[in-house]
């Protein structure tokens, strides 16, 4: 158990911002290299998904207030894509950087920062679509929508903690990658994105304990309703505490051993 060295790793890794900025951007861009419209595929594929969902689910579920429902779906789906991406790629955080870990004596947190940066690029590109959609819907947005800013920053902090925890477990137990994928698929339907909590009050009593609901809610509620969802913030605060503390303890214990697992 070496908590001081683990903390030092996280601090020193942050200082290497030039390393993780350049590596993450190259990896992000190279996914689309040699394609005609390049990184705009991120936006396009998200936009296509949003458009199809709007045409199908809007008429199906948004009976009362179509415009409200459409905005609800766009913002919720945006956050869903982000959350899903953060969690599904987390077990590969260290595995995908195995070659670097075995050849450079860098702080391991460097690779976590790199992964979080890639989430940020995705966020920025897809958020453009959200803005376009909200403008198109002429959805009235309150000044209180700015509560979404601390929410997204907090969720990025969460992403770091999740990647730390799952990254270590995923490097040691390779089943985790597959397990996480298997869990996330049904979660898409168990999280209120396409349907609203008010439409399924009974089911919601159980699904209220789904952290993904609160992760989405702290971002969605300010924009959609001009509300600060206190309960969801508290819930997410507890989640963050559990994930970050367990991730940090694991990191303190296993940091020097991770390199032997590739």
């Amino acid at each position: 158990m070496r908590p001081k060295a683990a903390l030092d790793d996280i601090v020193q890794g942050a200082k290497l911002w030039r390393v993780w900025l350049s590596l993450s951007w190259q990896e992000f861009v190279s996914t689309y290299r040699r394609s005609l419209i390049g990184v705009f595929w991120v936006m396009l594929s998200f936009a296509a998904f949003v458009f199809i969902k709007l045409t199908i689910f809007s008429s199906l579920l948004g009976a009362d207030d179509v415009r409200y429902y459409d905005a609800y779906l766009v913002i919720g789906f945006f956050m869903w894509v982000y959350s899903q991406q953060v969690i599904m790629t987390a077990p590969d955080t260290f595995v995908s950087s195995g070659g670097w870990i075995r050849s450079e004596a860098l702080p391991l947190s460097t690779y976590i920062y790199k992964m979080v940066m890639r989430e940020i690029y995705n966020l920025l590109f897809t958020f453009v679509v959200v803005i376009i959609a909200l403008v198109y819907l002429q959805y009235p947005v309150d000044i209180k929508a700015l509560y979404a800013v601390p929410a997204i920053l907090f969720l990025l902090l969460n992403a770091f903690a999740i990647k730390l925890l799952l990254g270590i477990i995923g490097a040691r137990v390779r089943d985790i990658t597959h397990l996480v994928k298997a869990i996330m698929l049904p979660m898409m339907f168990l999280t209120p994105i396409f349907w609203m909590p008010s439409q399924m009050p009974n089911l919601m009593k159980v699904l209220w304990w789904n952290p993904l609901f609160h992760a989405i809610e702290i971002f969605r509620a300010p924009i959609l309703d001009g509300e600060f969802p206190t309960a969801s913030w508290i819930f997410m605060g507890v989640v963050f505490l559990i994930v970050s503390v367990s991730g940090f303890l694991l990191f303190s214990r296993l940091r020097q051993r991770i390199v032997f697992w590739f």
């Binding site: 075995r102 050849s103 032997f260």
Partner: protein
């Protein structure tokens, strides 16, 4: 001023990911220990040495003798199970041609990544890039993705990057196999320059000709134990005598 001191270095390499199930500790009593339910390879056992500045060390020994492990301990990649390494001097290392690179990025971009990792400033990068390209003899290939390179080209580039900033300690693992004779000569020359400036190079290789042409000193590792350390000719003599005896 470069110097490397190793005190009683031991490294137990944990067997994980199912590898532990396929190996039998009773059959390999020499190299494997079981602690609790976990199995470890004894990759280094109680290794002690002191390398002074201006030395070119050849790390020799058979496959699995601990050469790569020792290099990684010296480079700070592996933390030893017990004992310690104290080294002074800026370290540059090359552990393999497929490690520490972005295969989809161009040669030029990879120079930048490795430069940034080494902490070069923007100006230093600008200054060094032409020099690295020239030394690696890559020409226009420098703007193609690394995955299109042959082993020799990749090795030339990585060697050029690793040595361009006059490291005080250079750690090389089996790097020479892929280079042609001309480049090997150039690389050997550069290593000698480094040592002339009171640096240290440690090269692990099975290529006896290479080792004998660039190294004056040698360390022989056998199953993680350091059997000899001294002038390279003596080290080889001892090693040959040992294997001649045990395999007769």
């Amino acid at each position: 001023m470069a110097q490397i001191d190793a005190f009683n270095l031991s490294l137990h390499y944990p067997l994980t990911g199912g590898a532990d199930r396929n190996i039998n500790a009773d059959r390999e009593p020499d190299s494997i220990v079981t602690v609790g339910r976990k199995k470890y390879i004894l990759a280094l056992r109680d290794v002690t040495f002191s390398i002074q500045r201006g030395q070119n060390i050849g790390l020799v020994g058979r496959n699995g003798s601990g050469k790569s492990t020792l290099l990684r301990v010296l480079g700070g990649i592996y933390t030893p199970t017990s004992g310690q390494v104290v080294s002074t001097g800026k370290i540059s290392s090359l552990y393999g041609m497929n490690l520490g690179i972005q295969p989809d990025a161009t040669g030029r971009e990879n120079i930048v990544f490795r430069g940034i990792i080494k902490g070069w400033s923007r100006e230093e990068l600008k200054e060094r890039i032409p020099e690295i390209i020239a030394f690696s003899e890559l020409g226009d290939f420098i703007d193609l993705p690394l995955r299109t390179y042959s082993d020799g080209m990749r090795m030339r580039l990585l060697f050029a990057i690793a040595t361009c900033f006059a490291p005080e300690i250079l750690l090389l693992d089996e790097w020479i196999g892929a280079g042609d004779a001309n480049f090997q000569k150039k690389a050997g020359q550069r290593m000698n320059d480094l040592v002339d400036e009171a640096g240290i190079t440690v090269v692990a290789s099975h290529n006896r000709n290479l080792i004998q042409s660039v190294c004056e000193q040698g360390i022989w590792l056998d199953k993680g134990v350091m059997r000899a350390y001294g002038p390279i000719a003596d080290v080889y003599k001892e090693m040959d005598a040992h294997f001649a005896k045990t395999e007769a």
